[in-house]
């Protein structure tokens, strides 16, 4: 078995309730666009971020951080440091309780994972309904089994998230961010950038008035959504030069397990950590 562990910051720019998730700019929820940014597109990005905000301006995306083959850690492997991406514009589906009924349930669809480095590509799409390969989440949302498979477990005030993100005290994170943004504003001359910082500062200062939003902002910092399923659909395996030194199994599903959490409503970034297990037969 080839086990690829990955982690890093992801970006998801979308409005949250009581806004509609399709709201292009965010008004009454905890997330919003600021001057100079394009409207929300809801897409979950593991790389190639759109208008990243301080302190995520130079954030690397999601990478493979460990490789194991048959339980043996590989210290030098071509996929160490490989880029991990979700293709085809995935979004969190919830639609304010229309397509999922439980709080904090957010299936991701489409789910099309790609890991690539040094000319190697390992890529596979999960079919939400294998019997109907073109179906999307909206086609199957009434099928509890299919939805549950792609659903998530929720934990709040997660230890794992705290240690991965550094968000150890949620109120302090917000207070510290406010101070940093104010310092940044004092040094910023460009009017659009100033307006962008002022809007973020105002939002945190509004914690004084919006108790619900303050609690939501803090809660998301510590929330962990854990997903686990086996990727079952069409694949791409590209290994010119045989750098993997083995054969990837494609008749079998590939189990993936990951969590996403520590979502910061100020930066619109969260953290992801997980493993992809790929059937692998080592060449002798």
């Amino acid at each position: 078995m080839l086990v690829l562990s990955f982690q890093g910051w992801f970006q998801a720019r979308f409005a949250q309730d009581p806004d509609s998730p399709e709201d292009p700019r965010g008004v009454s929820g905890p997330t919003f666009v600021v001057p100079g940014e394009p409207v929300f597109d809801r897409i979950i990005r593991l790389n190639d971020f759109v208008s990243p905000r301080y302190p995520r301006l130079a954030t690397d995306g999601v990478r493979v951080t460990a490789v194991a083959i048959d339980n043996v850690q590989q210290n030098a492997h071509p996929l160490l440091g490989a880029r991990v991406d979700l293709l085809d514009g995935p979004i969190f589906h919830q639609r304010n309780f229309i397509v999922v009924k439980l709080n904090f349930q957010s299936p991701i669809d489409p789910f099309h994972l790609r890991i690539a480095a040094q000319g190697i590509t390992i890529q596979r799409k999960d079919l939400i309904d294998p019997a109907h390969p073109t179906y999307t989440f909206k086609d199957v949302f009434m099928n509890d089994q299919l939805v549950a498979r792609r659903g998530n477990q929720i934990a709040i005030q997660s230890l794992v998230v705290a240690e991965a993100t550094g968000f150890m005290n949620y109120a302090e994170v917000r207070a510290q961010r406010l101070a940093e943004l104010q310092q940044l504003l004092a040094k910023t001359i460009d009017p659009t950038q100033r307006a962008a910082l002022e809007k973020r500062i105002l939002s945190i200062e509004n914690d004084e008035y919006f108790t619900g939003e303050k609690l939501a902002a803090r809660q998301f910092l510590g929330m962990q959504a854990t997903y686990g399923f086996s990727i079952n659909g069409p694949y791409v395996i590209d290994d010119p030069g045989g750098q993997l030194k083995g054969k990837v199994g494609t008749s079998q599903d590939w189990p993936i397990s990951f969590w996403m959490g520590g979502y910061d409503v100020d930066t619109l970034f969260g953290y992801i950590q997980g493993t992809l297990s790929v059937p692998f037969f080592t060449s002798s």
């Binding site: 309730d17 009581p18 806004d19 509609s20 399709e22 700019r25 008004v27 009454s28 919003f32 001057p35 100079g36 639609r95 304010n96 309780f97 229309i98 397509v99 009924k101 709080n103 909206k138 949302f141 009434m142 709040i156 005030q157 949620y170 009017p191 659009t192 307006a195 962008a196 002022e198 809007k199 105002l202 509004n206 004084e208 008035y209 919006f210 108790t211 619900g212 939003e213 609690l215 939501a216 803090r218 809660q219």
Partner: protein, 428 residues
Amino acid sequence: MNLPGQNTIQTRDELIYLLTEAAALEHSLTCQYLFAALSLKRDTSEGLTDEQMNDVANWERFILMVARQEMEHLGLVNNLLTAIGASPHLLHDNFPYPTQLYANVMALECFSEQTLRRFICFERPANVRPEDAYCMLTPVPPPDGLGGPTPVNIKSVGELYEIISSGFQQLTANGVNLFIGPPKAQVTPQELMTYFPRVGTTGGVWDIWLSPITDYESAQHAIELIVEQGEGSTVGGTLSHYATFVRILKGLQSWQAKDPNFQPARPVVPNPALYVESGEHDRTLITNEDARLVLDLFNGAYETMLLMLIRFFANTDEGPTGLGEMAALAFSPWMTMVIRPLSEVLTSLPAFAAGGPQRAGPTFEIYHDLHFLPHERAAWQVIFERMREMAAYALQISQRPNVPERMKSVAESLRLIAVRFQGDMKLT
């Protein structure tokens, strides 16, 4: 019976009467605040600078929060009605209409200094003089030709709740067995999906706190919450609706002083209407064809929401599944994915067939008595058929060339809601 005009409550009926007035008032304020908030401009392409747009978006955020809390008050008042054995009240007069309150008119008007002054008057704390809160000092005379009880002679929202609170106190002291209604027919955080634990609280999502009413203490707690949040707080704290509107007014005046051409709101016509009777001069008939279609859909969606809410609050034979489903759809999905987006589409559409800058807006019109649908499965079927019809209608509207792209997602939301409702309730 001691008539309510004498401002004392001595019977359950009188308490029901005043709570019904309170419910109509909270509903009316919700509509007025939503109208003003949703008339605000959306982005700098509408002629505002980034700085101005930051403030305008912030004002909208605050007014929507106030509107949510008015919905919370409507929920609490209906909980109070249910708790004392009465039926819920979810109707209001069509706008505009006169009121005995100092603001003197209930009207749908776009965001402006005049509108904010009216809102400030509505939310005036008891220790602020009416003239200092922009209230009209010449009261509207009561209507003639009464065939029923004398209307309540109450000048402020705070006064209304003071009398209601005293009524609960008096009737309880008199030994009346007030709390006879079923707790399960009340809105609580469970129905709104806001009851989840986190540090410091289990509620407060969206800045609304709902609680069931089961006894005298919980009834008074609900009334105190309503008053504290804004309808007549004696101190008008910084979190109150009064203080919020005063802050917004100061912000607006500050921008106007810097830039006399500052226009934060779209030119939404006052008191828009889909239908106007001959002789009615205070309502603005919407004549643009696209706007009329969207408005027709909006009014249908609004009515359907009210039917769901009436069924929820007045449920008789509903099992947990039915109650849960009604609540699950009527609140977050319907309000945030249908009502509000349709309102926003309306304010982007022209009001008149002849063109011009004026925009349409949501009317919250109710054309006929909305009755409680009394039989569970029949009620669900009626509501489902309305949903299905609206989904098809929305799809047709979304395909018209001059209708905003956003209509497509509203149509999709309506379709998905109908699919969910049909599946969950096993309807044909």
